[in-house]
């Protein structure tokens, strides 16, 4: 028989029980839609992180005291025998030509208070270069002065300013940080969370002041901006060489490039996406069981029909094919409905959360649709064989056609 005839006959079989066909089709649709939605969430998260990193500037080097054996995220415990100093930062700027700017960073937390308003704040000790390296914008006043690394001045994050001054102009006012007095010289424009730190809750003070405030000798890290993205890796190697030379021949710093951090996150989020796809795939499998169930019911309901088919000379193989094709039609149609549903729901979410880059990865879409077709064939196999093996005589004895 021709494939068109086979399709036509199988489709007719499905029309015989529309509601059940529709429900099992829906099962597959939900499976496929959830694969598409969950993977677009995972992929969206990956893109979100990538975008966040890019907003830091893709030409960034991060110098961390201590040496990690494997490239990856920052070491948790600093074991550097040599402190990372402002002189090191200057040396990078002087001796590595590709490095355009450096910003030393000291980080700590301290209580910040103004009058009787107080709260804990993240204190970041740095220089004016920070403004450029992290692409910050000043909302009012000015950023840290370029040439007074130990001035008692501070620049407030937007929320900190709101909470300490309740909307009043803080410029020129005094703020107490960790028991020391600082004069407010500027406010940073709201920016929100960027890689684990809420920049709106940060107060920036000059780097030397911060070292003294926290009684430290070593910088927390040095941020260095490289001229061009293509020079990042070479600049990172040069930076290591310069610092190794300065630290008595000991390679005791780690230089992270934006790319290395990114690829670490990239890996994590790709794994996350794959895991989500796996979870959603389970629902596809369950949908397959649904199809199998519906097909088995259909086979037992259509016992007389199968008996008749055999009586009119339909072969074993043709009976198998009819039921396999019915299952495949169900699952494939479900796959297509799920595809449209999943992509549609993604669009809706995108409208609701415009900032989050939902994106269904092509591999997941293709795999979900392909698997949905396969699901019908695999789970249709048992019912189809059951049908093909029916004894035509017993099948025909049933009283209702």
């Amino acid at each position: 028989m021709s494939f068109a005839d086979l399709l036509g006959f199988a489709a007719g079989g499905l029309r015989g029980h529309r509601l059940r066909s529709f429900l099992s089709l829906l099962g597959v649709a939900i499976g496929v839609a959830s694969v598409i939605l969950l993977t677009s969430l995972g992929e969206g998260a990956r893109r979100f992180i990538t975008r966040e990193f890019a907003s830091l500037g893709t030409n960034l080097l991060i110098v961390i005291p201590g040496k990690t054996e494997t490239a990856g995220l920052a070491p948790l415990v600093s074991t550097a025998p040599h402190p990372l100093t402002r002189a090191d930062a200057e040396a990078l700027l002087q001796r590595v030509p590709a490095i355009r700017r450096v910003a030393p960073v000291v980080i700590g937390t301290a209580e910040a208070s103004s009058g009787d308003r107080r709260r804990n704040a993240t204190v970041i000790g740095t220089t004016r270069e920070m403004l450029h390296v992290r692409h910050l914008r000043v909302a009012s006043g000015r950023y840290l002065p370029p040439d007074q690394p130990d001035a008692p001045v501070c620049v407030l994050g937007a929320r900190l300013q709101r909470e300490l001054f309740a909307g009043q102009n803080p410029l020129g006012e005094w703020v107490r940080i960790g028991g020391w007095r600082f004069r407010v010289i500027g406010v940073i424009a709201p920016r929100g969370t960027s890689i684990g730190m809420d920049l709106d809750e940060v107060v920036a003070i000059p780097v030397d002041t911060a070292l003294r405030l926290f009684n430290r000798h070593s910088l927390f890290r040095i941020l260095a901006e490289v001229e061009a993205h293509t020079q990042v890796n070479a600049a990172a190697r040069a930076a290591v060489a310069v610092l190794t030379e300065r630290h008595a021949g000991q390679e005791d710093v780690t230089v992270l490039t934006q790319d290395s951090v990114l690829s670490g996150f990239d890996l994590i989020f790709r794994a996350l996406t794959a895991a989500l796809a796996g979870i959603a795939a389970i629902s596809l499998g369950v949908a397959g069981l649904g199809i199998m169930n519906v097909m088995l019911v259909s086979v037992s309901e259509r016992t007389a029909e199968i008996g008749l088919l055999k009586a009119v000379g339909v072969t074993h193989r043709q009976v198998t094919a009819v039921f396999l094709v019915e299952a495949a039609i169900l699952s494939t149609a479900g796959g297509l409905v799920g595809l449209l549903g999943g992509l549609g729901a993604g669009r809706v979410l995108q409208v609701v959360y415009p900032d989050f880059p939902f994106h269904a990865p092509a591999w997941a879409v293709a795999a979900a649709v392909a698997v949905s077709c396969l699901v019908g064939l695999v789970f249709g196999l048992v019912p189809a064989r059951t049908a093909a093996r029916l004894d035509p005589i017993r099948a025909l004895i049933r009283r209702k056609a």
């Binding site: 028989m1 021709s2 005839d5 006959f9 007719g12 079989g13 029309r15 015989g16 007389a304 029909e305 008996g307 008749l308 088919l309 055999k310 009586a311 009119v312 000379g313 339909v314 072969t315 074993h316 193989r317 043709q318 035509p392 005589i393 025909l396 009283r399 209702k400 056609a401």
Partner: protein
């Protein structure tokens, strides 16, 4: 055309053998009109299934049109049923979702006959049973007699040599039953071998030859008229 020699059919029911057919031996010539009669449980349905190649003898041989059916595999038996044998059942066994034309078309669909060739043959088969105006009705829109006529059209659309009817009037009123049997007898006169299985003597006695079964054995084989 049909040669049965020493055919036994034994079922195992609850651990003990049940002899549905014992040593059945007869031959039926092409074009004959034979009834198989007997009370229920006499083995006449089993005989019909074996004649129709839906079942195989436990012992003995069945030759159909010269071929030993024992030597044929499942696919070959399917082909035999498709091309040489038409079935008519007591309960019609029409597919409820298909129209009359769709049901008649069915054997040709699975035989791989193209839609262009199928259409005229469906029309012709429906015309033969007088159902042309009902071609696009579904079984639930047809009377019992009409349904059985659709079944007959389906049985003969592949132009088989043998028509097997299992209690064809058993589910019909007297008038429709008469129409059905007349229709099949007409086809027999046109050369189709007709075997009717029934427990109804009035129906069975219309045949030229009557085979009576009791307890799986042939107890009588009468011929009223010579085969054509």
């Amino acid at each position: 055309m049909i040669e049965l020699a020493g055919v036994d059919r034994t079922y195992v029911v609850g651990g003990s053998p049940l002899h549905a057919l014992r040593q059945v031996t007869f031959t039926i010539a092409a074009g004959d009109y034979v009834s198989v009669m007997g009370p229920s449980g006499s083995g006449k349905s089993t005989l019909l299934h074996i004649l129709g190649c839906l079942d195989r003898p436990t012992a003995g041989s069945y030759r159909f049109a010269g071929a030993d059916t024992h030597q044929l595999d499942e696919d070959q038996l399917s082909r035999l049923r498709r091309c040489q044998i038409g079935f008519v059942f007591q309960f019609f066994h029409l597919i409820p979702r298909l129209t009359a034309a769709g049901n008649v078309e069915l054997p040709m669909v699975f035989a791989g006959i193209s839609p262009e060739q199928r259409r005229p043959r469906v029309a012709q088969a429906l015309a033969r049973v007088g159902l042309t105006p009902r071609a696009h009705h579904r079984p639930d829109q047809l009377s019992g007699g009409e349904q059985q006529r659709v079944a007959i059209a389906r049985a003969v659309v592949m132009e088989p040599h043998l028509l097997l009817a299992d209690e064809p009037t058993g589910n019909l009123d007297h008038t429709s039953g008469r129409e059905i049997i007349t229709l099949m007898e007409e086809m027999n006169r046109a050369g189709l071998t007709l075997i009717v299985v029934t427990h109804d003597p009035r129906l069975g006695e219309r045949a030229r030859r009557r085979i009576r079964l009791s307890d799986g054995e042939v107890i009588a084989d009468e011929r009223l008229a010579p085969p054509p």
